[in-house]
């Protein structure tokens, strides 16, 4: 193992330019992927923020006793798709209307009778903030006899669903394309490093080194370059994010876990690239 580690270190020392170039190439290809990741993360976050507003409102029949509403409220909260349910009394509805709809303030001030019905605002769990789930919950609410009407803005929830589907599909296709490009670039870079040492490999084979022994330093080297490239790509993504966040639009950066996954992905790509290149080369020699 000591010899293998020494060989890995020597490989970096003997060809510093090629090693730096390959780590930088890996870094740039991962950086492009990282930028795309940042766009995806922020797009998802924006969609998530909009999805937060998906709620189902059940308007309560006038004159429904409070006990019936309270019982109904706990029934609604027991529905699996429901995160929370809040009872808004008629007075609270009016107060909110006065506060939120300032342009109609005069009309609300002059009212003798409160025309606004009491309601139950139902928030759905994040995974159920879709048109289908909202419609399903609306159906259940409609079946309750104290409920007069149910609204959930079907149109815009359906639009949100479509937006989510498009973002998901584009994200997958473009992400897969970027990942493929990164794999090809990294594979080629590592193959160059392997070819540069083809003489050494052929000599190792001639003197009786096993394929495993020959392969291991290259795999470690690929892993190391991948991790280094991943760290560099993360640093560059952070720089790009800081610029965008300061001068263009407020944006979110990767979480610590996502950053770690990115670095590990770099390492894994480096390892896979080496495996393929060395495997192919060992067959060639």
């Amino acid at each position: 193992m000591r010899l293998i580690l020494r060989e890995v270190f020597l490989a970096f020392r003997r060809a510093p330019l090629l090693s730096t170039l390959s780590a930088t190439t890996i870094a740039f290809s991962l950086f492009v992927f990282g930028l795309f990741g940042l766009v995806t993360v922020n797009l998802q976050r924006a969609i998530g923020d909009v999805a937060e507003r998906v709620e189902v409102v059940a308007y309560i029949r006038k004159g429904t006793p409070l006990e019936t509403v309270t019982l109904g409220l706990s029934d609604i909260e027991a529905i699996p798709q429901v995160e929370s349910a809040t009872h808004i009394t008629e007075a609270e509805a009016l107060q909110r209307a006065r506060r939120d709809l300032r342009e109609f303030q005069d009309i609300f001030q002059d009212l003798e009778v409160n025309p606004l019905p009491a309601s139950i605002e139902v928030r759905l769990r994040p995974e159920f903030r879709t048109a289908d789930a909202a419609s399903q919950v609306a159906g259940m609410l409609r079946a309750m006899n104290f409920v007069e009407d149910v609204r959930f803005g079907q149109d815009w929830v359906e639009k949100l669903d479509r937006l989510r589907a498009i973002a998901g599909a584009v994200g997958f296709v473009v992400g897969a394309a970027f990942a493929l490009v990164a794999v090809i670039i990294i594979g080629t870079t590592i193959r160059m490093a392997v070819l540069q040492r083809s003489r050494e490999i052929s000599i190792m084979r001639l003197v009786g080194a096993t394929d495993g022994f020959i392969r291991l330093p290259f795999l470690l080297e690929g892993l190391l370059k991948g991790v280094l490239g991943g760290c560099l790509a993360l640093a560059m993504s952070y720089g790009a994010w800081a610029l965008i966040d300061s001068y263009l639009i407020p944006a979110a950066f990767f979480t610590r876990t996502q950053s770690l996954i990115g670095i590990c992905a770099g390492g894994l790509l480096g390892l896979l690239g080496s495996m393929v290149s060395v495997g192919r080369h060992l067959k060639d020699v």
Partner: protein, 230 residues
């Protein structure tokens, strides 16, 4: 030690390199494999150290048979062989000592053994004083000596030499050839491919196998056996 039995090697693009080749190099023997360029000498050596496998027939080397040897066993076979080439095949970024030590390191020898063994073979080839020099600082003959030292360091039973003097001047050629004879005298079999007939003639009575267009056209051992029978 090395036994070719009805060996044929055919390449898909270039056709037959060897056809029905049979010969036997015995333990401790010095044998020449001669013939013009393209006669099949290098192919025969490649089959011996299993860089290639025969299309048909069997090659037996030091107890290993090509027909039964798995890919995993090939390194074990090569550790019992020493191989040298016309182009030396040294690592340019390592000293003579490091080049020789490399053969021991990659085969998992103990660190404590490597230094003394490397010095022993470098002394044997007459290069103890140049152990710390890089290949580019050595002459062609000296580089071939380093390659021989690397081939010897694992105490091989056979030394395979593919045109080892092809890149050397006459003086260096004589030196290398004498070194190979000394190695053979100490018990290591040598199979040397060469097209230098002067070199072959300088060693009368040695086992000579001549190839032409991939076929054995002369084998002095068979000749001697036939003469003994009559």
């Amino acid at each position: 030690m090395i036994k070719f039995t009805d060996v044929t090697k055919e390449y898909p693009k270039t056709g037959y390199a060897l056809q029905h080749v049979s010969f036997h190099v015995k333990k401790g023997e010095f044998a020449f494999l001669t013939g013009h360029s393209g006669a099949g000498k290098s192919t025969a050596l490649k089959l011996t150290y299993l860089d290639e496998r025969p299309t048909s027939g069997e090659v037996r080397v030091s107890g290993f048979s090509t027909s039964r040897l798995s890919g995993r066993d090939i390194p074990m076979l090569r550790r019992r062989l020493g191989i040298i080439f016309q182009d030396f095949r040294l690592l340019e970024d390592r000293t003579a000592e490091e080049n020789v030590a490399f053969a021991l390191e990659v085969t998992g020898s103990r660190r404590s053994q490597i230094g003394p063994r490397v010095m022993r073979v470098l002394t044997q080839v007459g290069l103890a004083g140049k152990a710390h020099q890089y290949p580019r600082e050595l002459s062609g003959g000296e580089q071939q000596r380093v390659a021989i030292a690397r081939a010897l360091v694992n105490d091989p039973v056979v030394l395979l030499a593919d045109e080892p003097t092809g890149n050397l001047d006459e003086r260096a050629t004589r030196g290398i050839f004498q070194l190979l004879r000394d190695i053979n005298a100490s018990g290591t079999a040598v199979l040397m491919a060469t097209h230098d007939l002067d070199l072959v003639r300088s060693m009368p009575g040695v086992h000579l196998i001549e190839l032409q267009h991939g076929k054995v056209v002369y084998d002095s051992a068979e000749d001697a056996a036939a003469a003994a029978a009559t």
